[in-house]
């Protein structure tokens, strides 16, 4: 066997290994992108629930217009930011913008909750109660989705930064992914909707 043959075999093996690493990176990348889209799905679900909640509240407390409008506006903004970020999950700036929009939505929801606390008949409404259950579960899902996203990003980044993979990653343009960092602690707190 000539040296040429051996070199060829080594080259083919190296190439095969490279392909394997590349595929693994693709798998992980898709996984974390999918995880991000889960956040998106759950956030959308939440954005859909919020108008319903506002509508029910509107029946009882129409005069608290400022708060209700604020909630709806914040919701619209967050929904828009979410769509933009979902379109391009790798970009860190967009995720940051979403986090900010989420924060102001959280603040607005907090105000709405204070309003709801003041009206016992609103608190007693059954539709609102069901919506509350939905919203609580969705809040959980949002945080779980974020967590799953972080886990997936961690796995991807670990994979990407380890030795042989880092070569493939750098040549094939696998960028480092961002963790979903909340701007401050407030956003990490779930929106509390408490009735009775």
């Amino acid at each position: 066997m000539g040296i040429g043959t051996i070199l060829l075999i080594v080259l083919v093996l190296l190439l095969a290994y490279g392909v394997m690493v590349y595929n693994r990176l693709v798998t992980h990348k898709n996984r974390f992108e999918n995880a991000f889209s889960q956040i998106d799905v759950q956030l959308q679900r939440r954005y859909e629930l919020i108008p319903n909640l506002v509508e029910v509240a509107n029946k009882y407390v129409a005069h608290e217009k400022d708060t209700l409008t604020e909630v709806i506006e914040a919701r619209n903004q967050a929904s828009k930011a979410c769509k933009e970020a979902a379109a391009n999950p790798g970009e860190s700036g967009l995720v940051g913008a979403l986090a900010k929009a989420e924060q102001s939505l959280g603040n607005a929801m907090g105000k709405l909750n204070l309003v709801v606390e003041d009206y016992p008949e609103l608190k007693a409404d059954e539709t609102l109660r069901d919506l509350h259950d939905e919203l609580t579960s969705t809040e959980n899902r949002v945080s779980y989705a974020r967590q799953a996203y972080s886990d997936a990003v961690m796995r991807y980044n670990t994979e990407r930064e380890q030795f042989p993979a880092v070569v493939v990653a750098n040549t094939c343009n696998f960028n480092e992914a961002d963790l979903f960092e909340a701007a401050n602690d407030e956003i990490r707190e779930p929106v509390k909707v408490k009735f009775g």
Binding site: A35, R141, A148
Partner: protein
């Protein structure tokens, strides 16, 4: 817990076990081959492993066919998929938009954890007739899992705990445990088939002469091979399963990010009285995937246990969980009822005691947060707590005299001994202090003897607030040094010193706890917790017989302290010891050399026993002390020592002096 690291670790270990399992199966095949060739030797007279003669070949093929058939039937059994299996158990599927709030909540939780684990939620079933707390996943080979939750779990767990249980099951799903488990099951069934065929052959030929027939010989060989294979297969599979439980627990922590709820669900299961194991025709298929399977009680059964002991699982999540939970509960209790004061240490709850002269009724409980004004009240002779003679009260009015009086307590009656003691004090501190100790000892010798407990109580109460913990500990150390005469305590000095130590809240953490006294409760309570949990692990509990020596030691000291005549003591001792052990242990004397060290070792041994045993033992000692309707000073000191060292509460009844 570091769940990512833990997961990697468990995965490695279970992979190793899988390799073991495959190796065992290969070894089994080899053994079958060899055995087949060997039993053929009488027939053909040849020993050829490479190309076995006809009958041996037929035998081997027979076994392989049996294996295949056994495995095949099992495959038919499980290939129906999770939902069908769940229904076979009698579980009913939960429909979305269910009328019941708890069912919608369960569905919500399943969906939530599905998001957390990035898995499609499986269909959910409820096992209505099962009252124990349990949950499991069933499924075939293609990932058509179904999640089954027992009614008991729905009723007894709160939302967080239920999430933890569901997350554990998701852990089994994401880690691919179900297909692996099913394959192991099929492999084991095929081995089991060998055993079954052997059984059949033997039964059929029982009528005839048992060993003359070739069928019986084959049957015996088959049974032997089959049962050995099944045995090892079970052991390895169970070990594998235990690793996967830890792995699933780690996954549950990862998905919920709430180790507390996982641990609290496990704790609730441990405290649940309902039998945990799932019973039924197909139980074998699912016990490996249950959330729990009930702890085994016999040592040999742990090799076949599909689940690790609950305590070990809790420890893997957070070794200090129980202590934390207790501290948390205490905090919440505290905020609910702020007026209830917590006793400083376990044994110092309000205890009314009757000291030798029968006149002193002491209240031992010192609220840890005594303010200065209430301290003054505590210390005033008429302040209600304790009755101290005026003279003694005057002697211990300030911290330095308190220090002195604590030293004065130990002044011996023997003149030469006391002289050496003063010199030692002068050497350890200074002459002035030695003088003040001597002054106190000489001015109130009677009070020191009769009101010793009251004096200790008052002196330590004051010192506890005037000097820091580390200084108190230093004080105890030097006091201990002073008292060790020729490398040995006298028993009474030891008992008194322990009392002082306890009253100063300066004891070693392993013997006592200081939970609830300071804000820094964790360090102390952890030590207690580990010790308290030891019996639950079932490993450290010795039988009474093995602890006979320890009981004998404690009992002989107890009976001796009553001050009765020799014969009476011997008799009492015999009766008392008979309650604990059949063996005879000679009665020990308190002045034997090395007795204190042995006593401490005995406390260490007994301390890890279940609380019920410790408490009843101390109660028994109290009964012994009370046998003569009088608790002498020594008896009292010993009782206090036992109670404190064994972390029991002691209620010494108050008897007014006649």
């Amino acid at each position: 817990m570091n769940f990512f690291g833990s997961q990697d670790n468990r995965k490695k270990q279970s992979l190793l076990l899988l390799v073991c399992f495959v190796a065992a199966m290969l070894a089994m095949a080899a053994v079958i081959h060899v055995v087949a060739v060997f039993i053929n030797v009488p027939l053909s007279g040849k020993l050829d492993f490479g190309n076995p003669p006809g009958p041996a070949k037929a035998f081997i093929v027979l076994i392989w066919l049996t294996c295949l058939a056994g495995g095949f039937f099992r495959i038919l059994d499980v290939k129906a998929g999770g939902a069908a299996l769940a229904q076979r158990f009698g579980a009913t599927e939960v429909q979305p938009k269910s009328r019941f709030r708890e069912e919608t909540e369960l569905l919500n939780i399943v969906d939530e954890i599905g998001v957390a684990s990035a898995t499609t939620p499986p269909p959910v079933f409820i096992l209505h007739r099962e009252d124990s707390i349990n949950a499991f996943v069933v499924g075939g080979f293609k990932g058509r899992e179904a999640l089954v939750v027992s009614q008991g779990a729905l009723e007894k767990l709160d939302r967080d705990q239920l999430s933890a249980v569901i997350a554990h099951e998701y852990g089994h799903i994401t880690q691919g445990d179900i297909p692996v488990n099913m394959r192991l099951l099929v492999a084991l069934s095929s081995l089991n088939a060998i055993d079954e065929v052997g059984k059949l052959l033997m039964v059929r030929s029982r009528e005839g002469e048992l060993f003359a027939q070739p069928g019986v010989v084959v049957g015996i060989v088959l049974r032997a091979l089959g049962s050995i294979g099944v045995f090892f297969g079970h052991v390895i599979r169970s070990a594998f399963s235990r690793q996967r439980e830890f792995l699933a627990d780690a996954c549950a922590v990862q998905f919920t990010r709430n180790p507390e709820s996982v641990a609290s669900a496990l704790t609730d299961i441990r405290n649940d009285v309902t039998d945990a194991a799932i019973h039924g025709v197909h139980a074998e298929e699912i016990t490996h995937l249950c959330f729990q399977a009930g702890d085994v009680t016999r040592w040999y059964k742990q090799f076949f246990a599909t689940h690790p002991p609950v305590q070990k699982r809790i420890d893997a999540i957070d070794p200090h969980y129980a202590a934390k939970a207790r501290a948390k509960k205490r905090r919440s209790d505290h905020s609910d009822k702020p007026k209830v004061k917590q006793g400083g240490s376990a044994a110092s709850n309000v205890t009314n005691i009757n000291v030798g002269n029968g006149t002193t009724a002491l209240q031992f409980a010192q609220a840890p947060e005594v303010s200065n004004s209430s301290l003054a009240q505590t210390l005033s002779p008429t302040g209600g707590i304790g009755v101290l003679s005026d003279k003694a009260a005057m002697m211990i009015s300030d911290p330095s005299s308190c220090l002195a009086v604590l030293h004065a307590i130990f002044v011996s009656d023997d003149r030469s001994n006391s002289k050496a003691y003063y010199e030692a004090i002068a050497f350890a501190y200074n002459k002035v202090f030695a003088h003040s100790v001597k002054d106190i000892a000489e001015s109130i010798p009677k009070a020191l003897a009769t009101e010793q407990l009251a004096i200790i109580e008052h002196a330590t109460a004051q010192l506890r607030h005037s000097i820091k913990l580390e200084n108190r500990q230093r004080l105890l150390k030097s006091l201990e040094k002073l008292l060790v005469v020729e490398g040995e305590f006298t028993l009474m000095n030891y008992a008194t010193l322990q009392l002082v130590r306890r009253k100063l809240d300066a004891e070693f953490p392993v013997l006592e706890t200081k939970v609830g006294i300071t804000t820094d409760t964790n360090a102390g309570s952890n030590a207690e917790e580990q010790v308290d949990n030891a019996p639950a692990q079932g490993m450290k509990v010795k039988t009474f017989d093995k602890m006979g020596e320890e009981f004998a030691l404690l009992l002989s000291l107890m009976v001796e302290s009553s001050g009765n005549s020799g014969e009476r003591i011997d008799e009492q001792y015999k009766i008392a010891l008979a309650c604990y052990t059949k063996h005879h242990h000679p009665r020990r004397l308190s002045n034997e050399p090395g007795i204190v060290k042995e006593l401490e070792a005995a406390f260490q041994t007994l301390y890890v026993q279940p609380k019920a045993i410790r408490e009843s033992f101390v109660q028994h000692c109290l009964d012994i002390a009370q046998a003569d309707h009088h608790i002498a000073k020594e008896e009292h000191a010993l009782l206090n020592l036992f109670a404190a060292s064994l972390n029991c509460e002691l209620q010494i009844p108050v008897k007014r002096a006649a």
